[in-house]
């Protein structure tokens, strides 16, 4: 939760993003690829680029993920606005994910 400055994927947005998230994945793992796709679809449909998402490859930064308290992959952390939330899984349950992220569809 401390390092937010190196976003891998950051859609351009001048104002404060409506949602800041971090997705922990294992590169090329089926569930991780699914999660990225599922999240991207939700964001595209409901957030209209008004969000900030950092994707962390656990294989590349394992100790960071460990420090962040990540257990399983894929794992999505909602960092702001509060309340913070954590979602594990390939995010295939669209309504569940939206509820957890506080997105009204």
């Amino acid at each position: 939760m401390r390092r937010k400055k190196t976003p891998i994927k950051s859609p351009a947005s001048a104002v404060m993003p409506a949602l800041v998230m971090r997705l922990y994945v294992v590169n090329n793992a089926p569930n991780s690829l699914l999660a990225i796709a599922n999240l991207a679809a939700i964001c595209k449909e409901f957030l209209h680029d008004n969000f900030k998402l950092e994707i962390v490859d656990v294989l590349a930064e394992p100790l960071r993920a460990l420090a962040d308290g990540i257990l399983v992959t894929p794992s999505l952390a909602k960092l702001s606005p509060s309340p913070a939330a954590n979602i594990v899984g390939n995010l295939s349950d669209k309504s569940g994910v939206m509820r957890a992220l506080g997105i009204r569809g």
Binding site: V58, L66, V72, V88, A100
Partner: protein
């Protein structure tokens, strides 16, 4: 199924000792290097303790760092739970151990499938960072149930196994099973995959919680099959290791005192070193005193001794024994004697065995007293207690410890008393104490029922307790019975009176005989004197007679002379006596012949 331990170790040098007392014997060396072992067990069966203890032992003894992945508990909980063992976990946790809190909080939303590849990647990084050699996945079932998919469960298990194989770590995976039921359904595949499967169980028997361990599978290794008891002590988990089925005890011919001299005499010179002695008797027959005396004698010889009591605390025992002259205090103070008291109601018999083993290891006694062993039958069932009683005796023999065990018997009949724990057949020496009630008294009697390999007295003896300690009274028999108590005392008094009387009688007789002898001597003296007198008389008489004869012939001669009788005639009449007078002596014989002729011619 079984090979000797040394052979197993030679065959399989690649085992890592867990350091769990007893388990390494059971598994012939521990867990296989760089392989995964599965621990299955119900809640509270000791899975976490087993895994954590193995990890800690590796870190402490071999300096091998380890990772503990806790799916169920928090690190704080684990450290708090481990605080009841003397592992020094907090310090280790800082340096050698890494705890990963791997339980998903309830707030975490689950959406779709996930896997452990990320976690394994993190663990790999951590492993490389700290050089970990061990890893524990504790409570993997908790994580797997989140997958909500048997296929996914299997896939993740395979993932873990492959990861472990790649990373060359000694791994322990624990999973909870509800006793007996779903385990084959849920984790059957897990058992196939793992190299070693260990089952832990906990069950209640007669209100006592009994922990058990069993190795159900060990790929590429010999192991001891069967369920073994587990107990938890200050150093953690201990397994009641299997005893070798072959009895290989050495037999010593050295004799040591059973406590006091008269008992040793009854035993043909004492107990054999390393032998086992059973003392049976109803309550109050001074079994403890006898055992205490044995312990004290051992301490006096300077031998380390362990006194285990299952019915009293150390303090009351020492006080009670001191009242009969058995002093434990100085020996306890010097460290020779170790007192251990335990309750038997709440702990299973096998826990006591494990505890005893630990005590023997710790104190290294040469003599051991267990008083009373029969108390272990109080909890956890008689069958277990019997097995444990036998094992205690065998264990003592293995350790070459001379053991004295007491057992409370229900009746006074040694035949029935033996059955409770059935240890009398295993014990080398069996001393039975009983009460003999006679003439309004209750006295303690000691009998040696058996003593292997030695002569022993067959007599029933009275055991007397005094301030000087236990003692066997002198034997007095009357009407085929050994007298005891007052009867013995009376007999003793009577006996001593009779002795005095007999001595007086003998003296009297002696004096009488002396008198007779003196009398006889006196009489002999008198007779001798008489004899002398008679001889003297006889001598004087014959002298007189001679003198008288001589004087009469001289007188005759004088008379002849005076009468001037014919000398020729006189000469002719008494030729032999006639002494020639005058100058014609030389021609006397010639003259005589002539004279005799003359006489003959003359009439």
């Amino acid at each position: 199924m079984k090979v000797t331990k040394t052979a197993a170790l030679q065959q399989l040098p690649s085992k890592m000792a867990t350091g769990i007392q007893g388990f390494d014997e059971l598994s012939h060396g521990g867990l296989t290097l760089n392989r995964t072992s599965l621990l299955l067990g119900g809640p509270g069966s000791g899975k976490t303790v087993f895994a954590l203890q193995t990890l800690i032992n590796a870190a402490r003894r071999r300096d091998e760092p380890g990772i503990f992945v806790a799916f169920e508990e928090t690190t704080r909980q684990i450290i708090a739970n481990a605080a009841c063992f003397n592992w020094g976990l907090p310090a280790l946790a800082r340096n050698k151990l890494f705890f990963l809190e791997a339980h998903l909080s309830p707030e975490v939303v689950q959406s779709g499938a996930f896997d452990l590849s990320g976690m394994l990647a993190m663990l790999k990084a951590k492993k490389q960072e700290m050089g970990a050699r061990w890893i524990v996945f504790d409570g993997i079932d908790v994580l797997l149930t989140l997958l909500q998919n048997p296929i996914a469960e299997m896939r993740e298990i395979y993932r873990i196994r492959d990861w472990l194989a790649d990373n060359e770590m000694n791994a322990i995976v624990t999973a909870k099973i509800e006793d007996g039921i779903s385990e084959t359904v849920n984790y059957g595949f897990m058992q196939f995959m793992m190299d070693c499967v260990i089952r832990l169980s906990r069950r209640l028997e007669h209100g006592v919680s009994l922990h058990r361990i069993q190795i159900t599978k060990y790929r590429g290794s010999d192991f001891v099959a069967g369920e073994y008891p587990v107990s938890f002590g200050s150093s953690g988990m201990e397994v009641g290791a299997p005893e070798p089925s072959e009895i290989k005890h050495t037999a010593s011919t050295e004799r040591i005192s059973a406590g006091f001299e008269r008992l040793d005499t009854m035993l043909g010179g004492g107990l054999f070193r390393g032998s086992s002695t059973l003392i049976t008797g109803v309550p109050g027959t001074s079994k403890t005193t006898l055992a205490g005396k044995f312990a004290e004698a051992a301490c006096r010889r300077g031998e380390r001794t362990l006194f285990v009591s299952f019915d009293e605390g150390a303090e009351p025992i020492m006080r009670n024994l001191a009242s009969v002259g058995i002093q434990f205090k100085p020996h306890v103070k010097s460290g020779l004697l170790r007192m251990y008291s335990a309750r038997t109601e709440s702990i299973g018999a096998e826990d006591h065995l494990i505890k005893l083993k630990a005590l023997i290891r710790e104190h290294r006694p040469r003599c051991l007293v267990i008083d009373p062993l029969s108390a272990i039958a109080k909890a956890g069932g008689l069958v277990a207690a019997r097995a444990v009683a036998n094992r205690i005796i065998y264990m003592a023999k293995d350790e070459k410890v001379t053991v004295m065990i007491t057992a409370i018997s229900e009746g006074d009949d040694p035949q029935t008393e033996a059955t409770e724990l059935q240890i009398s057949t295993v014990a080398d020496t069996w001393i039975h104490l009983s009460y003999i009630v006679r003439s309004g008294e209750r006295n303690r009697a000691l009998t040696i029922i058996k003593s292997r390999g030695t002569w022993h007295s067959n007599q029933v003896r009275e055991l007397v307790l005094s301030e000087a300690g236990p003692m066997l009274a002198d034997v007095y028999t009357a009407g085929g019975e050994v007298l005891m108590g007052t009867l013995r005392w009376e007999k003793e008094v009577e006996e001593s009176a009779r002795k005095t009387q007999r001595r007086a009688d003998v003296d009297h007789k002696q004096r009488e005989l002396q008198f007779v002898e003196a009398d006889t001597r006196a009489r002999i003296k008198a007779l001798e004197l008489d004899l002398q007198r008679q001889r003297a008389e006889l001598a004087s008489y014959s002298r007189d007679n001679e003198a008288r004869t001589l004087s009469s012939s001289e007188r005759e001669h004088e008379l002849c002379k005076m009468r001037s009788a014919d000398p020729e005639r006189r000469a002719g009449l008494t030729p032999a006596n006639a002494k020639p007078k005058g100058g014609n002596g030389s021609g006397h014989s010639g003259n005589g012949k002539k004279a005799r002729k003359e006489v003959r011619d003359a009439p």
